[in-house]
């Protein structure tokens, strides 16, 4: 264990000195002489990388999904085409566009789910070929000097909506491995606002990895631009690579074997991520008018890092029904562990005839507040002719895998006490088992010894 700790410290020390955004990237003289011409400049030293990116989730916003109930194995799923009540739209129905004018102000604005897509919108989500390769915005992920005044949508001479890019030499001269801020440009404002979706701040104060100077890609280590991800029940698309705490920390990460025994039934996150936050509920059937006179879905938002998670058994398969998307699993299936989740509830329109959740094009309700016009527009885009919209709620369980703490991790008596962090009854334990699990007998000697050591 000590050796592992030493190795970890050395690895982190080497990360701190590894070539990163702060250090000079080779090829400076060439870029200074010729300027930056988009991906073709990068390809001079990194051939094939543009084409490689086109096959990833970051470009396609979709992938085959094998762990979610009720999906077609022949199709790809993701932000491109998914409908759920965190977003109630997707790239298809909410393609980046200029919305109708607001009748009170006469003003319009650009909006769309694919504003974060790293292309230029002309070559959009899932596009392929040389034009798509040349449309990639390499620098938005790789430059530390990107000027975001340039990354805004505008209409070109043909009236097409284009997403601008900073392709300046200055931005190109600051390339390197993505820093946390490059990722957070998009990932902190997903779902309709800052820290709305998953409700955590990846900062030194809140995450032990951030405090050690680590960045997102230290765990989500890209392989040929494919990024490993975990098993959040609401992150379906994946690049076929997975990341887990045990990749770095091993199967027995604690010096204390009592803690190590818990890892058979508890995910690391259960003890080490005791907080969550962000939006708890949204109502897409009721849009609220803002100061700019445009409308936004009614949103109830807790602060980031401010709420307690909900715990459930999870076997990494996802139950997917119109009114519930969340973990599958049970105490007795032999593969599940207890994980923490952020529970979110969203209200939107369901089709009374099919029982399925309907999607919404945000352009009409954003301009005028007319939510049913949004449903009608989305239905038209999707070719749905016969439907009957009726309001209803959907419950979503979001995975909680960031905001990791060592100092404030749950300890023996925070769970094994009456009214503790885990509700053993809800987790499937009998009354007799709950009585045993919440009796100090199981840990009293250990905790008393620990108190002596600490004080």
């Amino acid at each position: 264990m000590k050796i592992r700790g030493l190795l970890m410290a050395l690895a982190l020390a080497s990360l701190a000195t590894a070539p990163g955004l702060a250090e000079e990237h080779p090829g400076r003289a060439s870029i200074e002489a010729s300027g930056y011409n988009g991906p073709s400049t990068c390809e001079e030293c990194h051939p094939g990388k543009a084409k490689e990116l086109l096959s990833t989730v970051h470009w396609k916003h979709a992938s085959p999904v094998t762990n979610v109930d009720g999906l077609d194995a022949e199709k790809e799923y993701g932000m491109f085409n998914r409908i759920y009540t965190m977003c109630n739209g997707n790239d298809v129905v909410n393609n980046l566009k200029e919305i109708p004018v607001n009748p009170e102000t006469g003003k319009s604005k650009f909006t769309g789910c694919n504003t974060c897509h790293p292309g230029n919108h002309l070559s959009d989500v899932g596009s392929t070929g040389p034009e798509a390769e040349n449309a990639i915005d390499c620098l938005v992920c790789h430059s530390s000097a990107y000027d975001f005044t340039k990354r805004v949508p505008f209409k070109d001479g043909k009236g097409q909506v284009v997403m601008g890019q900073d392709r300046s030499t200055a931005a190109a001269l600051a390339v390197g491995r993505p820093a946390a801020k490059n990722c957070m440009v998009c990932h902190e404002r997903a779902g309709g606002g800052i820290y709305v979706k998953r409700g955590f701040e990846f900062t030194r104060e809140n995450d032990v990895h951030a405090a050690m100077g680590m960045t997102c890609v230290d765990c989500h280590k890209a392989q040929n631009h494919k990024l490993p991800t975990g098993f959040d029940p609401n992150t379906w698309a994946n690049d076929g690579l997975r990341v887990a705490c045990s990749d770095c920390h091993g199967a027995e990460p604690h010096a204390d074997q009592d803690y190590n025994r818990h890892t058979a039934k508890l995910a690391c996150q259960t003890c080490h991520i005791p907080r969550t936050g962000g939006t708890m509920a949204k109502d897409f059937t009721r849009w609220e008018q803002g100061a700019d006179k445009f409308y936004e879905p009614g949103t109830i938002q807790a602060e980031a890092n401010s709420t307690k998670p909900v715990y459930a058994w999870y076997n990494l398969r996802v139950r997917n029904t119109p009114h519930f998307i969340g973990p599958d699993g049970s105490r007795n299936d032999g593969t599940s562990k207890i994980y923490p989740f952020k529970v979110y509830q969203g209200k939107a329109f369901f089709d009374k005839k099919s029982g399925q959740l309907l999607s919404m094009d945000f352009a009409p309700p954003m301009a005028t507040g007319d939510v049913l016009a949004g449903v009608a527009s989305a239905a038209s885009t999707l070719g749905i002719k016969d439907y009957e919209p009726t309001p209803g709620w959907q419950t979503l369980y979001f995975g909680s895998s960031h905001l990791v703490t060592k100092e404030n991790a749950l300890t023996c008596f925070q769970c094994h006490t009456v009214g503790g962090a885990l509700n053993f009854k809800d987790l499937g334990y009998s009354d007799a088992e709950v009585a045993k699990l919440t009796n100090p007998e199981t840990y009293v000697t250990k905790v008393l010894e620990k108190q002596k050591e600490e004080w």
Partner: protein
């Protein structure tokens, strides 16, 4: 002697009250939603900046001092620009409105 003790006690009580009031005045957190009308930041090495927000409820202009690294970085690379709507919490410290929460209201 008694008089001196009394004076001392009153003075102490007055000092404690004054200190408490100062602490209370400093700790009162205010919040607003407003549109940025002006950002003043002194170059890429700046460790502080000011932003003027127009309160959407009162239409009053409020000058906010921003010291946190993350927000300053967003000013520097223009992830936050004039015209953006901001949700802000701040405290009055030495006569200045110092931000402890400064986030764009808009998302994707």
């Amino acid at each position: 002697m008694k008089k001196r003790t009394l004076v001392l006690a009153v003075a102490t009580l007055f000092a404690v009250c004054a200190f408490s009031m100062t602490v209370l005045a400093q700790s009162a957190e205010m919040k607003l939603v407003g549109v940025i009308t002006k950002i003043k930041i002194a170059g890429p090495a700046a460790t502080t900046a000011t932003a003027i927000l127009k309160d959407t409820k009162t239409e009053k202009l409020v000058e906010i001092v921003i010291n946190d690294e993350l927000t300053l970085d967003k000013f520097k690379d223009h992830r936050i620009v004039e015209g953006d709507e901001i949700r802000c919490k701040y405290k009055s410290v030495d006569g200045k409105n110092v931000s402890n929460y400064f986030r764009k209201t808009a998302g994707c």
